[in-house]
């Protein structure tokens, strides 16, 4: 207990001179966004975010928060400072997860019920394209050069590589059952796709022209936990490409993986049904949303230890942080 307190204090001290960072957590069942101060780890406020808010992201300058309001069939937009609602974006039906290109212009949205990826212009608030993909599209990743968007389809079990130039699918890679999330390394040379029911993470090497090649699969094993409960969902890679963190759903753990050798190094115990992850912008902390315990866990990235948990809204789903 004492050491935990110390860690927190040191953490707080180190973060001293920077402006207060914030984490925005979408609460799927509470229909709200909880705002957490990432210096004090206090809940600042909670505001209405639309019906069934899930995927959540921020504009590159951190001024706007985008959230998939799944049951409203649109993307709601909020001012990151005042939390005022701004005009919504068209998303196509049942948006679940999305990814914003680095320029902040185009938003790529997975429409779970319609087997589509919708491309929306965030400035003109118009739909630029609809790309047909496999059944139940969910995970959305983007190559750092913004040339490819990767969508995972949960029932087709593929990663679809969509060119951002012509919105055509250039590659389809079969992965294990129920792929949930796609995450590139910062250098764009590797891609990880999590498979919830397959219980694995597929690792691919990405060639210069964006062509993927499967190089291996990561499996998980925790003593005393039924293998069926080890269900990889959210994933994040450190920007130096050394560590991959994988949320394991009902196993209530985040796996720490050597992103190069694909060896699983450790498991960090977090809240119940851990779903999505996001680093703080300085990458000191990794936040996890825990859907069944209605909290988030803060992981110290360097120490690879959970340092605290914070109660948020009902059934937290996604998380995004800003400076």
């Amino acid at each position: 207990m004492k050491s935990l307190l110390m860690t927190t204090m040191i953490g707080a001290l180190c973060a001293g001179p920077v402006f207060a960072g914030k984490a925005f957590i979408s609460n799927e069942r509470g229909n709200t966004i909880t705002v957490v101060d990432t210096d004090t780890w206090e809940v600042e406020t909670e505001f209405f975010a639309g019906n069934r808010p899930r995927g959540i992201t921020a504009s590159p300058d951190g001024s706007k928060i985008y959230v998939c309001a799944s049951d409203d069939n649109l993307v709601r937009v909020f001012d990151a400072v005042t939390y005022e609602e701004l005009p919504s974006l068209p998303s196509g039906p049942d948006p679940e997860l999305f990814i914003l290109e680095p320029s902040g212009k185009r938003l790529y949205i997975a429409n779970e019920d319609d087997n589509l990826v919708t491309v929306t212009d965030t400035e003109t608030r118009t739909v630029l394209a609809e790309v047909p993909v496999g059944v139940e599209p969910e995970g959305m990743g983007m190559s750092p050069d913004a040339k490819f968007v990767v969508n995972t389809s949960e029932t087709t079990n593929m990663a679809h590589f969509i060119s951002t130039e012509d919105y055509k699918i250039k590659h389809n890679i079969l992965v294990d059952q129920r792929p949930r999330y796609a995450q590139y390394t910062a250098d764009g040379k590797r891609l990880f796709v999590t498979s919830e029911i397959g219980g694995t993470v597929t690792a691919m090497d990405i060639a210069e022209d964006g062509t993927p090649e499967v190089i291996g699969k990561i499996s998980f094993e925790v003593a005393g936990v039924q293998p069926e409960w080890l269900q990889p969902v959210g994933a994040k890679v450190t920007s130096d490409g050394t560590r991959l963190f994988v949320a394991l759903g009902p196993a209530n753990r985040v796996a720490v993986v050597d992103a190069q050798s694909l060896e699983v190094l450790d498991y960090i115990l977090v809240g119940q049904r851990v779903w999505q992850l996001d680093f703080t912008p300085d990458e000191k902390y990794l936040l996890t949303t825990n859907g069944n315990s209605n909290d988030i866990t803060v992981i110290d990235v360097a120490k690879e230890k959970a340092i605290r948990s914070i109660q948020v809204g009902q059934q937290p789903w996604g998380v995004v942080t800003i400076d």
Partner: protein, 395 residues
């Protein structure tokens, strides 16, 4: 129309890159045998005309979307027939060259249809018959079971009862052969999980008091009398495979107790309110396509065709032997909105699957229950396990 154009575009997209996939046109059939039955106790249980077939339509869409990226197409024909016409209908399907057949029928008809299919080298998927013998000494090499057996359903209920520490049971069974078979499965489950049947009674099917304007009046007088003076019990277990009395038991018992089995809390593969593990997406797709809620039969047929789709996608085969071999291999796994992968028991061709416990509105619990362990798979705590099964067709 948007769906169609979306599919078309995907097919065009496929043309733009060289794949290693081979074009396969998958043809399958669903053969449903309709029996003369009385109306169900509840209108909610009325059988829609497209029962099961709706699941096939959804499966064709789902498989077809995946297939559009690989050069595979899926077409499933559906036939509803009387028991007398079943053989002829199957013959006609086999004559069309169809070798993958999903059958919705009772166990006896399933056995003879499976043998007829075997002569033509066809593979059969059982979407409804719960008979234990067909997973045991009466198993067939060309028969895979999607539907759970009576043993699996009874074990699903028993595990929940034991988890609740309701280990003294009052078993009430009907008098029809299906009821008797189900009652035997519950007796076996009680022994397997250490529950005790303190009272065991048969409720005779005399053909009366089914759903009528005054039905509840008779029921309210008859059932308390029928259930009085029973030995101490925690729960009433109903074995009513023919749906003639179990739904009436709740609230009409002499001693107030929860009801499970064929009434009260009922084991099922799926229902229209199941939402966990992404099932909401299945429900919305199904409802958009069919305009009604999904029934377990729809889900079972959908799942059978998804097994075929998975074999085609992963093993590049739509041949009956190829599909069967892949399905029972260690490589096979399938996500089925149950929170864990479903696989086949390679000793009797039965699909391993979690079983939902449904109160008519919501999923109350899902078996297997916490704490019931197994060296191979937790799912093998339900139904015939390898050492008990006398099936040799898969050796």
């Amino acid at each position: 129309m948007p769906k169609f154009s979306a599919l078309l575009m995907a097919v065009i997209a496929l043309g733009s890159f060289a794949g290693s996939a081979f074009a396969i046109d998958v043809k399958a059939a669903v053969l449903r045998v309709d029996y003369p039955v009385l109306l169900p106790i509840s209108r909610y249980d009325l059988r829609p005309d497209d029962l099961g077939f709706a699941g096939a339509a959804l499966a064709d869409e789902d498989n077809g979307t995946t297939g559009s990226f690989l050069g595979h197409t899926y077409e499933t024909v559906t036939r509803a027939v009387t028991p007398e016409d079943a053989e002829m209908a199957l013959g006609a399907l086999l004559d069309q060259g169809i070798r993958l057949i999903v059958v919705q029928s009772n166990g006896d008809d399933l056995a003879r249809l499976t043998d007829q299919a075997a002569a033509a080298g066809a593979l059969v998927f059982n979407a409804s018959a719960p008979d234990i013998a067909l997973r045991d000494d009466q198993c067939r090499a060309n028969l895979l079971h999607i539907a759970p057996s009576n043993a699996m359903n009874a074990d699903a209920v028993a595990q929940f009862a034991v988890w609740k520490k309701w280990d003294e049971w009052f078993l009430i069974s009907g008098s029809n052969p299906e009821d008797v078979a189900l009652a035997e499965a519950f007796r076996k489950s009680a022994r397997k999980f250490g529950a005790k049947i303190t009272e065991d009674r048969v409720f005779e099917d005399t053909g009366g008091s089914r759903r009528t304007d005054s039905g509840h009046v008779l029921v309210q007088r008859q059932l308390p009398m029928f259930t009085q003076q029973a030995d101490d019990h925690d729960v009433v277990i109903a074995a009513d495979g023919t749906d003639f009395f179990a739904r009436y038991l709740s609230y009409h018992l002499w001693t107030p107790r929860p009801v499970m089995g064929s009434g009260g809390l009922v084991p099922t593969t799926f229902h229209g309110a199941h939402e966990a593990w992404g099932a909401t997406q299945y429900q919305t797709r199904f409802e958009e396509l069919t305009g009604r809620y999904a029934k377990p039969e729809d889900y079972n047929v959908w799942l059978a065709l998804r097994v075929i789709g998975e074999a085609v996608t992963r093993a590049n085969t739509a041949e009956p032997d190829g599909v069967r071999d892949y399905a029972v291999s260690d490589a096979f796994e399938l996500a089925a909105f149950k929170g864990t992968k479903v696989t086949f028991r390679n000793w009797n061709g039965q699909l391993r699957q979690p079983i939902l416990l449904h109160d008519g509105k919501i999923t109350v619990s899902v078996s297997p229950q916490e704490g019931f362990l197994h060296q191979t798979s937790l799912l093998d705590t339900m139904g015939l396990d390898r050492p008990e099964s006398r099936c040799t067709a898969f050796n």
